[in-house]
């Protein structure tokens, strides 16, 4: 089996190398058949990589311990689903997943836009270049097909990865990370070919939205996994690898907004190129962080030789992006100027600056420990207050802008119009703030501001729908006529839910920690937790205990059973116990560690998190909004077909 996997990878390497070299030459010398041949090589790379991926999956499914990778990440007792999920559980498998998704995306995107030959001719070698790097790594640096003499059993899988969320979280993140290659490749193709019109944007609009959605949902699922599985009482720890996924998502969010200004006003061409390059390079940087083990993180694989390669490739891509943008500056400059600082495009611009600033401050927080270790020889980590400060500084104005933007007209808006459109959302926000202040929510100013701004945004979204419905003659007609705008508003509503959930569960969270013996109690946020005693348990591949807690308060009685599992091969794992309180849309979260075996005492930690479940609800609303925004619009397709004329219409995505 392994030789077939290795052969398939070598063939994939040859194909993407051909797509790069022959594709570049063909585009440069304008050779039609050679360009088509390079395009075919890119298309063929996907099925060939799929063969390699299938070989690895079969090895994992069979628990074939002659594969070093299978031995490292699985064991015979590991259930089949988790054994297959080890495909992305280790470094080599993750790289293979990158290549598989990349070749799949590249093939599909190129095929759908094949009629736009001038642009695609230069896009193929860019995809080829990215593909060459990953295929090279898999063939010559970090192969998943290394073999060894057969061993009786493997190392197993880290207990926290044995969770259904792990079947979805990493692949979704990859679909997002790798998806950002599509707008990047087309943008660089546009620069190389001199086709700096909107063709590349039309070709990649839905790809960017899809990648952004995958990245967003992947992060949310990862947050829920951390919450229920890692058992530290939170869902986001500003872990470097979590940040690594957040940064490209923020840059892509900025791009999705600013690209609308280019489409509507023909402005910001340079800025959009910069944002696309930033989002892609940040996604590469994210992969580098995860794969190199350069930072301490629960996600990082151990220090490996691939870090230097990644860093070199990242540097190459940054240089390539900068040189190409600099080269094509004369083509990218436009005469259109911002007409007013009070206009929709101006609010988008402010939103862009804040998003990029937030992304870069997070980047600095991630880089600082690495740089301080490199320069001073001592690692200084950036702690939660740093991130929280910038989240408040840039995040709160961003939240407010989400409400302001939709109310402001394109080009320019007079103060009189603004006064008229702002009055209802403003009144709702002030009323919300005053009521919350009276109820004692002033204990946290960021929390109070989040709720007040959220009320403003929510009111402005409702107002937009109400007014739009009256003008269009129905909500369905309204959404169907402008899917991107109203899908976007639904995504904004999801962000409001997320902000309320985050503020409620962090700014207004109650936390208690106490060592308890059987019969003793602790109180938190009106709940009484009485510890009844320990219960031992045994599973097929672990032993463990559960602390039996009787909880009462707010007119409710329920039981919680936090504890620990000790896996025979993989080691100990916290098992949190959570009660979902429908009254507060929040959770009562408990975790317990054994404090004294003889006395059966436990170290109990309790977190009462109001509104935390809104975060997960936000995920569903986010997906709904994104799907509406992505849904193809027949009228728009016809308009674009007419624009690009004579059979050159962009097809599908």
């Amino acid at each position: 089996m392994a030789p077939l996997g290795r052969a398939a990878l070598l063939l994939a390497f040859g194909l993407v190398l051909y797509a790069l070299v022959a594709g570049s030459y063909a585009a440069w010398k304008r050779r039609r058949r050679l360009a088509l041949s390079a395009q075919n090589a890119l298309l063929a790379a996907f099925p060939v990589t799929l063969v390699a991926a299938t070989v690895l999956l079969v090895g994992l499914g069979r628990r074939d311990m002659s594969f070093v990778y299978v031995w490292q990440h699985t064991s015979h007792k590991l259930p089949l689903g988790y054994a297959l999920s080890a495909f992305w559980g280790g470094q080599e498998g993750s790289l293979l997943l990158w290549l598989l998704v990349l070749t799949g995306y590249a093939g599909l995107a190129v095929w759908l836009n094949r009629r736009s030959r001038e642009l695609v001719a230069w896009t193929v070698p860019v995809f080829g270049l990215v593909g060459v790097f990953f295929a090279f790594m898999l063939c010559f640096v970090s192969s998943p097909f290394n073999v060894q003499p057969l061993r009786p059993d493997g190392n197993g899988m880290v207990p926290s990865l044995q969770n259904p969320y792990m079947l979805a979280h990493p692949p979704l993140l990859y679909l997002g990370y790798v998806g950002l290659t599509v707008p990047f490749a087309f943008a660089m193709g546009a620069l190389l070919s001199g086709r700096t019109d909107e063709r590349w944007i039309v070709a990649t609009r839905r790809w960017t939205l899809a990648a952004w959605t995958f990245l967003g949902v992947g992060q949310l699922i990862g947050a829920h996994w951390a919450y229920v599985e890692i058992g530290w009482g939170g869902y986001y720890a500003w872990d470097p690898v979590e940040n690594a996924a957040l940064m490209p998502w923020l840059a892509a969010t900025a791009f999705l907004h600013s690209v609308m200004i280019q489409e509507k006003r023909g402005m910001l061409k340079v800025w959009n190129m910069i944002l696309v390059a930033l989002a892609f390079n940040l996604s590469l940087f994210g992969t580098f962080l995860t794969r190199s083990g350069v930072v301490d993180s629960i996600h990082s694989f151990s220090r490996s030789p691939i870090g230097g390669w990644f860093l070199a490739f990242l540097a190459l891509m940054i240089v390539l992006s900068v040189v190409l943008i600099r080269w094509r500056l004369p083509l990218l400059r436009t005469k259109t100027k911002l007409e007013s600082l009070v206009s929709r495009e101006a609010t988008f611009l402010y939103n862009n600056l804040l998003l990029v600033a937030l992304s870069l401050t997070i980047l600095w927080g991630v880089l600082y420990p690495i740089l301080s270790e490199a320069v001073r020889g001592e690692s200084r980590s950036v702690s939660k207050p740093y991130y929280n400060f910038f989240l408040h500084t840039f995040g709160l104005p961003l939240l407010l802008l989400m409400g302001l933007g939709p109310l402001v007209a394109w080009r320019r808006a007079s103060l009189r119009s603004l006064g008229k459109t702002f009055v209802i959302p403003f009144a709702v926000a002030v009323a919300t703030g005053v009521v919350l202040l009276a109820l004692g929510f002033g204990s946290s100013w960021p929390g109070l501001l989040t709720y007040t701004f959220s009320a403003f945004v929510f009111a402005s979204i409702v107002l937009e729908f109400v007014r739009g419905r009256a003008a269009a003659g129905g909500v369905v007609r309204l959404i169907a006529r402008n899917r991107r705008r109203y899908g976007g508003y639904i995504v904004h509503a999801a962000v409001v839910l997320l902000a309320i959930g985050v503020a409620g569960s962090s700014a207004y969270q109650t936390e208690r920690e106490r060592v308890l013996r059987p019969g003793q109690s602790v109180e938190a946020a009106g709940y009484t937790f009485t510890y009844a005693g320990l219960k031992g348990l045994k599973g097929s591949n672990y032993t463990g205990f559960r602390a039996l807690l009787a909880v009462s308060g707010h007119g409710e009685r329920f039981q919680l059973r936090p504890g620990q599992n000790n896996y025979f091969i993989e080691g100990p794992s916290n098992e949190a116990s959570i009660y979902h309180d429908p009254r507060s849309i929040g959770d009562v979260f408990t975790k317990a560690a054994l404090a004294g075996k003889r006395t059966s005492s436990i170290d109990l930690q309790v977190f009462v998190k109001p509104l935390v479940n809104l975060i997960w609800v936000a995920g569903f609303v986010f997906v709904a909004g994104a799907l509406i925004a992505m849904w193809p619009d027949a009228v728009e397709q016809r308009r674009l077909a007419a624009r690009y004329a004579a059979g050159a219409a962009p097809a599908g995505i």
Binding site: R30, R33, R117, R411, A645
Partner: protein, 112 residues
Amino acid sequence: MDWALAVGAMLAVVAVVFVARPFLRDPSPASDRLDELAPEARQRLALAEERDRALAALKELEFDHRTGKVSDEDYRAQVGPLRRRAAEVLRALEAGEQTRHERVPDSGQRVQ
């Protein structure tokens, strides 16, 4: 692992044939030149983009006016220049079309 090598070799042969297909299908083409947008076609495409932008801006302005986001005063101030711009672009496109038809009477320039 002979079968694995056989499958690998077969895969390689299929891939090579697929990659070589453009040359196999069309061994001696009349022209092997990759399509390229002529400067006039680029100009026309830029105008088409400008036309779509102007028409979309008008549509947006009408909608914002109907929903009360744009006051009557702002609407009157903005609609004129937008209409003029749309008309200018449409005229420029028409003029370009006419010149093109005069130059190439029976076939259109391919716009990609």
